[in-house]
Symmetry: D2
Subunit: 359 residues, 4 copies
């Protein structure tokens, strides 16, 4: 039996950082040893500085871990570093880590649009990870992988197997009903704004969904150095994003049209989704969902409260698959925004990297 890989978490006191810590407690492959946070927390025990707001208790091992500043020198022994940093800080800190040869998996948006940085939904496009080799060459072994935006993760999960089976999608719309946990908690979404209410706007979100979809559904370049995006002509994507009074779980009402006509039947679509088995599962990754896509037949499902925790939040639920009078199909997609849409995705990416001996 191998020794566990050493892991660190940046932004450890924030909402994403707290989730990383929970997911790393008792993990068979990783041992969390380093926690980075702001200078005012540095030098103190984690338990004394964190405002822990998870439904699971703060794991005992983390209570006494000493917090450091987010500098590479304190993370030298880490095989992998998970970043839950705010975008305001992620840019320079993550750069310093990579330049010092560290392996970073980041939930921040800062480097998602770099050509040579893979933007990964681990149950969708792990093959994009291969381009980190190019980063390694330039950074003395260091590299960064970006986790996709939470609502993009749910959107592309059922699309990937469909594209593999039935060819390209040329038009795609999604209207999201997003959980408030996605906004973090300092302050996140004010209660008075969300009780008996909807906020039909999330800053930057629609643009992220429309752009990231084109990268995630894109291809690794022939020379394995970057991702070639789908062009605006290849796929038209339109997103409308709403914040709703749900704690966890993003619901999306999507519709789409295949380029190749005639389109498959509803039954063919369902079968394709049901049979999809993500690479991470084939690689026997610890957190990989046993069932990647759960196809639900009840006409009032998926529902976030009931279905968000399928496969511990790593599985995506799809329901109400039916023909669409405007495009080809419409359906409802539910994904757990803090698991497959954020920290959980980071963990599963690390597991894939490890299974492929890339860390």
């Amino acid at each position: 039996m191998c020794a566990k890989k050493v892991a660190g978490v940046l932004g450890a006191t924030g909402s994403v950082g707290q989730r990383f810590i929970l997911l790393l407690a008792n993990h068979p492959d990783f041992e969390l040893k380093r926690l980075g946070a702001s200078p005012r927390s540095a030098g103190k025990k984690y338990g004394s500085v964190v405002n822990w707001k998870q439904t699971d208790l703060l794991p005992e091992f983390a209570q006494d871990l000493m917090v450091t500043e987010c500098k590479a020198e304190y993370f030298k022994d880490c095989d992998i570093v998970f970043s839950g940093l705010d975008a305001d800080y992620a840019g320079s800190i993550e750069k310093e880590f990579v330049e010092n040869g560290l392996h970073v998996i980041s939930n921040a948006k800062n480097y998602r649009r770099e050509d040579d940085v893979p933007l990964i939904v681990p149950i969708v496009n792990p093959e994009h990870l291969s381009i980190v080799e190019n980063q390694k060459r330039k950074n003395n072994g260091g590299f960064i992988v970006c986790i996709s935006n939470c609502s993009t993760a749910g959107l592309v999960s059922p699309l990937k197997p469909l594209v593999e089976s039935f060819g390209p999608i040329d038009a795609l719309t999604t209207t999201t009903l997003q959980a408030i946990s996605g906004a973090g908690f300092s302050p996140g979404v004010p209660g008075i704004d969300i009780l008996d209410n909807i906020i039909p706007f999330i800053s930057g979100e629609e643009d992220k969904m429309e752009w990231e979809t084109k990268k995630i559904l894109g291809q690794v370049s022939k020379d394995n150095t970057q991702i070639d995006l789908l062009s605006d002509e290849e796929i038209k994507v339109s997103a409308q994003c709403n914040r709703v009074a749900v704690s966890d779980g993003h619901t999306e009402c999507i519709s789409f049209r295949f380029k190749n006509q005639p389109a498959p039947s509803v039954e063919q679509v369902k079968k394709c989704l049901r049979e999809y088995e993500c690479d991470a599962y084939k690689l026997k990754c610890f957190s990989a969902p046993k069932q990647t896509i759960h196809v639900l037949e009840a006409n009032d499902r998926p529902q976030p409260r009931l279905d968000r925790n399928r496969d511990a939040g790593y599985g995506v639920s799809v329901g109400r698959i039916r023909e669409d009078p405007v495009l080809d199909f419409k359906m409802v997609v539910l994904s757990h925004n803090t698991v497959i849409g954020a920290a959980g995705a980071g963990i599963l990416i690390a597991e894939i990297l490890l299974a492929q001996k890339m860390i």
Copy 2:
């Protein structure tokens, strides 16, 4: 000064019936004199049988009104009868009323699809009311007018002025986030189903929206006897309906494409909506909104809690008007489901009929 017209309400103890009663209290044109409900309530004072669940107090005048069964004989002196009956009962009862020469405005779905029955959103298509003359001829003066489905009302409100200005819409999608008050309260939506949750399904709703839109945007036939629907070729409509944790106010994320290209600009669309003045307002109807469509510029509006009561719920709010990568435009529409989407629509229809001397 004329005497007020005499009004009756069917299904008086239900949620729609209660709203009719509130809106008729102190109404300048109508005097509510007759209340119909189930046999077990008949013969008793309204105040003693109703489980009043409105935020306004039960009006004093209604407290002591005697409830009768829903039979035309008890409503003979009514100039107008508002029906809030459940679909299970509305079919036969409303038929008996019309055949006995009464004028019925119904919130039930039963007769909406009859060719010679106008399906009305009063701020949108009051010109369709002219076909009741045909019904009158057949029914000894009696006729029925149907109120549209609540979510259809919000959808078509901004479309009507756009079609008038820029020509037909040939593709239209809407994803709704609908309030729970639309489901009534016996039992309506269970609390455990909607707290921290979304229900991505409302029985029959999507079909209603897709069909009713084609009738409401249709034309009165040349011989003024029926409504000619738009065909499936003329307009493709796709609806995805969700129930969310909002008390009142349906939010819809819609997108649409004009038949005539190039499409107008975003500014032209906004200007058209802002300047739209509904006929009911021109007719000086008491409940008509001063501003039919409120065009909001803030990027996070409309919001149901803040905007649903514009013009006492008779005005519709539209925000986030912008170009759509798939169709021409996308935008967010908010309408008050129990006002312009139900009982309030009935009252305004009656006011229009009165202003046009049709009752």
Copy 3:
């Protein structure tokens, strides 16, 4: 007809300030002319600096009012100044206003515990206002009146008439279920903290309730210079405060014991509350509730969503009055926290001062 009195509002962009502005729009006695806010808003039009978050639209007259800093020199022409300032700023600013001869009605907590400052719930203890004469003498005509804490207002409203009729209460407990609007909105209560949740703690609230009750139920001193508090021996008060997922309206489950035994009957208590008519109503103040205390007989009332707006939020609802096995009585009290518990109270206090020619 007299000219209207000139009014100003401090902290005009905050949640309490916004409510003052709404309540002063079209007020028959007051004309709002001056708005004070932070230096970064000063010199700009109100409409351009406020993040308006009310369900009613920003009144047109206020849109173009110029905002100034909160200095007495800009408010010289005001007959009355309403302060919605945060406690961090209220101390020094309100002091400067009073010392410059201005009349201040403040929602802040800073001066509530000063002996010579009346702490007022306008439907409860307007007779305490007489001690401002003493302040006037010391401050060149200037004085300050404090509005009580929002949850205290609901608690003492039914107690006052009971004490007047049946003598002192010697033990009193309250468990509150408080609305989130009471926490303001920058940031107020985070959504993730209140959705599917309760927060069993509001900083400082229990102490305020226990202390303020003793002042409000106290007496004006013989020399009319201060309020004599009830002592800890005269009345024991215990509060337990919770924040719940309600937008507006504080619910309190209270129980209490009279000093004089035998205690009155449940029917006597109900009759006393029903017949209570507050002084503000006798003085014909514009905002005074027609019915001060609404005694509800239905066993599941009052409910915040249904009952908070009685008498425009100036009336208090009391239900479930019954004997208590531990003390004498228990009952449920509902009051509108932003009306009778905050800005609305300030307006009604000003109306009382005006009716009594004290401003």
Copy 4:
């Protein structure tokens, strides 16, 4: 290794029944073999008749179990039968089971007040189970044990160790903020009644809490045939019950006074609660909480969303322990209403019976 005991569930399609099934899946001691429901479900597979509304998937083994009517003849091979029947049916059905020698653990209220029926909160008063021997004698080996009301369970949990350490409590008040899952789901609490609202009434609940507390804190009679209740003179109990917008977890604000004065200190109370170890844990029961009472020091805890799942819902959380100006102490208690307050309690009672060889 022993064979598992055979278990049955009555009312299997209801909300309590569904929870029993979840808790019995993969249970080390019990094997669920029999499911009883209404005649219209009898003869069909469970998976085809249940409207499964749990956050965990319906266990595969239960999917194909055949449902029978609730008659003893179909449950003859059961060592233990868990009843989640509605009170309307529980009376006669449970009687028939007991008379046929079966062992019933019931969540229904019907037999709670029988002298010779133990009313059990398994972490509180398992010693009361001894009186089933008396029932066995009369019923050919059959007996019934009742699970307490959900809100009573939370209330008495911290009281039991306090009474053991510091002597009797003579006055006790509780104001509850109860979750909606406690009302089941057909229809349970309507969404429109609980969104942005509180219902200050739960039918029969206050009486149950006041009465059941006196039985649970009572003693087994000398002859071990019944429970001797505390008298109204020994302990005064007052409950005020509210339904709030929380899915799971009852919060209670309680205060109490000891008979023996001077009362212990706050620190003594905390220490007593922290050190309490329930008998079920000592007996090594599978579901027993490792920590029976979690004493929380943060001033804003316990919160239902964060703390309800301590020890899988079998642990009770207590926070804000402090002196009370009216009685001796006040504090906030949180318990999981569907675990320790309902189905979970039933399972743990069965484990205790088994550990003590009573089944």
